[in-house]
């Protein structure tokens, strides 16, 4: 399995890296579009290394 990455810069200047893999086995339902689902869970990690519901993810 080969690893590939694509780095983008977010609007606020932070980087985000998409990792993809070739020669992978099919993973059933994992490839579904979850953007809408994630947007309904506006959460992010806080700086005490716990997750917080105060901000978006």
């Amino acid at each position: 399995m080969q690893i590939h990455k694509k780095r983008i810069k977010k609007e606020d200047g932070r980087y985000l890296i998409y990792y993809t893999f070739t020669d992978e086995t099919k993973e059933g339902e994992e490839g579904k579009d979850v953007r809408t689902e994630m947007e309904s869970h506006p959460e992010a990690m806080d700086n005490s290394s716990h997750s917080s519901t105060e901000q978006d993810i």
Partner: protein, 290 residues
């Protein structure tokens, strides 16, 4: 409310934490040091790793291939962050479950790239360094050898890794996963070792979730060689799990003895808990058939 991940679909994603404890371009400290009270800049990098795009996914139910991908990503982050000259230690960890303060249920972990070696790891490395100087061998290699000879605290193993409840477990269901041979860090891994680590990780997570019939919370931390170039001989790759449950419905709280005196009270025998985890399915390490 915008999402952190703009793509409609993804496999594994890493991004900088929106509210980082450490920053690449750290400004000068707000309060100046005194002769007695000294501090430095909070320079470093804090990343979030999304293990899957499945927001409500349960990792123990994910296929082995997902774990292999995650191990590959962890390796890549360790290598990339470790090359930065202001980073001394790349700490990969996961806080899982409301019981340890997490409110975001999307499967994820974090990475803190520190400009120093964090204190618990520094203490661990100092002990291992001292043992290496005295005995000429890695303390963790010796510990694993002793554990294998004893056998009572071993949960499962495969060609490359062994999972056990440590002799001096502080938490009832504390589990450590040791590399069988002296791998200092992810940088020493072969492809087979990636797969073997993924397999034992998935097996332990399945055991955890099967133990009481709910998704088992824990704090997971990966200990390996500092990225400042020190400690190759006495750093030994291992993973530590600290689950807060001590029974199906009782949590372990850190109280007077633990926090006030630094002495952990564990009223269970690690040997018994290892047996309990051994007999919890799956009883064999998940096999890679790809």
């Amino acid at each position: 409310m915008p999402t952190e991940v703009p793509a409609e679909d993804y496999d594994i994603v890493v991004f900088e934490n929106k509210f980082p404890s450490l920053q690449k371009e750290s400004s000068e400290t707000i309060v100046s040091s005194s002769q007695f009270f000294k501090h430095g800049k909070a320079q470093g990098i804090c990343e979030v790793v999304l293990f899957t795009s499945d927001h409500d996914g349960i990792m123990s139910e994910k296929p082995l291939s997902r774990y292999i991908k995650l191990v590959k990503v962890w390796r890549d982050r360790y290598r990339e962050l470790g090359t930065k000259d202001f980073i001394d230690y790349v700490f990969i960890f996961e806080n899982k479950g409301e019981e340890v303060g997490v409110t975001l249920h999307h499967p994820h972990g974090q990475i803190y790239a520190y400009p120093f070696i964090p204190p618990i790891i520094e203490q661990e490395l100092n002990s291992s360094k001292e043992y290496f100087k005295k005995e000429g061998e890695c303390l963790f290699c010796k510990t694993l050898k002793e554990e294998k000879e004893d056998g009572r605290r071993i949960i499962i193993s495969n060609d490359s890794f062994t999972a056990l409840v440590p002799f001096s477990a502080a938490y009832t269901y504390e589990v450590h996963i040791y590399a069988n041979k002296h791998l200092s860090s992810f940088n020493d891994f072969s492809e087979k070792e990636e797969i073997d680590l993924a397999a034992i990780l998935k097996t332990i997570l399945m055991k955890f979730d099967n133990l009481f019939g709910f998704v088992f919370p824990y704090i997971m931390s990966i200990h390996q060689q500092p990225t400042n170039g020190t400690g190759k001989e006495y750093s030994h790759f291992h993973i530590e799990f600290y689950p807060p449950y001590r029974t199906k419905d009782k949590l372990k709280y850190l109280a007077g003895s633990e926090l006030g005196a630094g002495a952990f009270i564990n009223n269970c025998l690690p040997e018994e808990k290892a047996q309990e985890l051994r007999s919890t399915p799956p009883e064999e390490v998940i096999k890679f058939t790809g």
